[in-house]
């Protein structure tokens, strides 16, 4: 399949939440380590890894390349 539309990262997340309980569960699984990271350092490290995997390493400095 060639999906010619760019779904948009935010929209994909919201689409999942729109699905109600099942969607919330899926998104929770996705963010679980971050949520539980409040209580556990191990989770925190895992969450940071997952986050970097998700957003790319330059997620924090969102500097647009010039040129």
């Amino acid at each position: 399949m060639f999906a010619y539309l760019d779904p948009g990262a935010g929209s994909v997340l919201i689409a999942a939440l729109t699905a109600g309980f099942a969607g919330v569960a899926v998104v929770f699984r996705m963010y679980r380590d971050r949520v539980l990271g409040v209580f556990s350092k191990k989770r925190r490290t895992q969450a940071e890894e997952a986050r970097q995997q998700l957003l790319g390493t330059d997620a924090e400095e969102s500097v647009e390349p010039k040129g």
């Binding site: 399949m1 999906a3 010619y4 948009g8 919201i14 969607g23 998700l54 957003l55």
Partner: protein, 466 residues
């Protein structure tokens, strides 16, 4: 066949639509991927049902790809031609809602059998009379495991946000859709949404949270799709999304209690003799022309479109600038299952057209209609007096349609015309008099017939383009 590319068909690289104007045919090219998708579609249980009900446009595969169709096409399909193509910027609230519900219903049936649509574009739905039909057969594709429905955002922009904002009196359909072919983005919808709507959980998620998520994740190359796949997303999730969207759309209602023109259909300002003389004149012309398409400008409740259909016209396009009267007409036609009157909300003084890719993607309605008869009844005084359009310009637009016209002219002493004139400086509009108007008419038309209606303040003409 002499095929040209449909200018609206430019996004999907695996499928493209071609039009043959002389034979009136619509042909679609499919590449190998799209052909495999089409074969998967025709193998479903819902395909034959959607074909016979008209939910999806009647489609058949051609024996070979026509030579005049350039592109990477492995196969060609022929679609039944819709009498007149219309755009969401010409639909009323109830029409956009009907199109949204049809889209969701078909998508839900497709998902149950392993297919999904590539997009959620309202241009994929067309109306045959009051019946919506899904025309983009090339939009169906096999679901890949864990993939989201790529059309979700587009559905929000093009269907959900306009419907919600209209239902909460923040924007008016279709006027608010005339500026962009892309609809209303989540950030704008969220900014406009009133507080009582923000508190509805479904709208909070699909609009408010959507805007926040979009703003926060803008510019980041987040692989949310991949992350969701790992977390167990799948067709069941898409199916649940669609059900939720269906519930939201079904719950939306438009307040149509009043408008400037909604009482006009009662025609209190016409005498009974006036109405029947006008009907007799119009039906005579319709019978002599037997038009395949009648364009009824200023149709209001559609009484004269119906009259034309009764006297031998095959299809009527009933247009009016008032969305409330057209919405009411649509709902009447829809509950009667009508397939021969297309109601459209069109304001001649503020028309859409052009737009989209390089201003060429979407055409002006007057170029799409190809009428064989035009009705312009009790309209010219509103255009010439209230909207201050020169009579010559009105005559030119009518003549450029290239068809005979039945024109009703209220003279300046007519009570309705006089009421409009009273608002003007000195109670006059230069050029709005019988002689001046007839001079303008003769510049582009010959007057085939004319009658003064009972009451002596209105003249009705049958005009033939010269």
């Amino acid at each position: 066949m002499n095929l040209r590319v449909d200018p609206g068909s430019l996004h999907d690289p695996s499928s493209q639509v071609f039009i043959d104007d002389t034979e009136g045919k619509v042909v679609r090219g499919l590449d190998t991927e799209a052909l495999a998708d089409f074969e998967a579609l025709t193998a479903t249980d819902f395909w034959p049902i959607a074909q016979s009900s008209g939910d999806i446009v009647a489609t058949s595969r051609l024996d070979h790809v026509p030579a005049s169709m350039s592109g990477p096409w492995a196969a060609a399909l022929e679609h039944k031609r819709i009498p007149v193509v219309s755009y969401p910027s010409e639909w009323t609230f109830s029409m956009l809602k009907a199109a949204a519900l049809l889209h969701l219903r078909i998508l839900q049936e497709a998902v149950a059998e392993g297919l999904v649509t590539k997009d959620a574009n309202p241009y994929n739905v067309q109306f045959e009379g009051s019946q919506p039909t899904f025309i983009d057969v090339g939009s169906f594709t096999r679901i890949r495991s864990g993939e989201p429905w790529y059309g979700f955002r587009q559905f929000c922009e093009q269907f959900l946000n306009p419907l919600v904002l209209h239902a909460y009196d923040r924007l008016e359909i279709p006027k608010s859709l005339r500026g962009s072919v892309n609809g209303i983005p989540p950030t704008m919808a969220s900014a406009l949404l009133p507080r009582r709507a923000r508190l509805r959980p479904a709208l909070f998620t699909t609009i408010v949270l959507h805007a926040i998520a979009e703003r926060r994740m803008a510019g980041r190359d987040a692989d949310v799709t991949g992350a969701l796949r790992k977390a167990g997303a799948g067709p069941a999730l898409i199916s649940a999304q669609i059900s939720r969207l269906e519930k939201i759309v079904e719950s939306l209602e438009s307040d149509t209690s009043n408008s400037e023109w909604s009482g006009y259909g009662e025609r209190s300002h016409y005498s009974e003799a006036g109405v029947s003389a006008k009907e007799e004149f119009v039906s005579h012309t319709v019978r002599s022309i037997q038009p395949s398409r009648v364009l009824d400008l200023g149709a209001n409740d559609g009484a004269f479109s119906r009259l034309a259909l009764r006297h031998g016209a095959a299809y009527a396009i009933a247009t009016d600038s008032d969305p409330v009267v057209i919405d009411r007409l649509y709902r009447e036609l829809s509950s009667a299952g009508d397939k021969t009157t297309l109601p459209l909300c069109v304001d001649l003084t503020d028309m859409g057209g052009g737009g989209g890719w390089a201003g060429r993607q979407r055409s002006n309605l007057l170029e799409r209609v190809r009428p064989e008869l035009v009705l312009c009844l009790a309209l010219i005084h509103h255009l010439a007096i209230t909207a201050s359009v020169r009579v010559g310009a009105i005559v030119d637009v009518l003549a450029d349609l290239g068809a005979p016209v039945v024109l009703e002219l209220p003279l300046p002493e007519d009570p309705m015309a006089a009421r409009l004139l009273a608002r003007k400086r000195d109670g006059k509009v230069p050029g709005y008099g019988r002689e001046e108007i007839e001079t303008e008419i003769r510049r582009r038309f010959t007057i085939a017939r004319e009658t003064t209606l009972p009451g002596d303040t209105r003249i009705i003409y049958e005009l033939r383009p010269s």
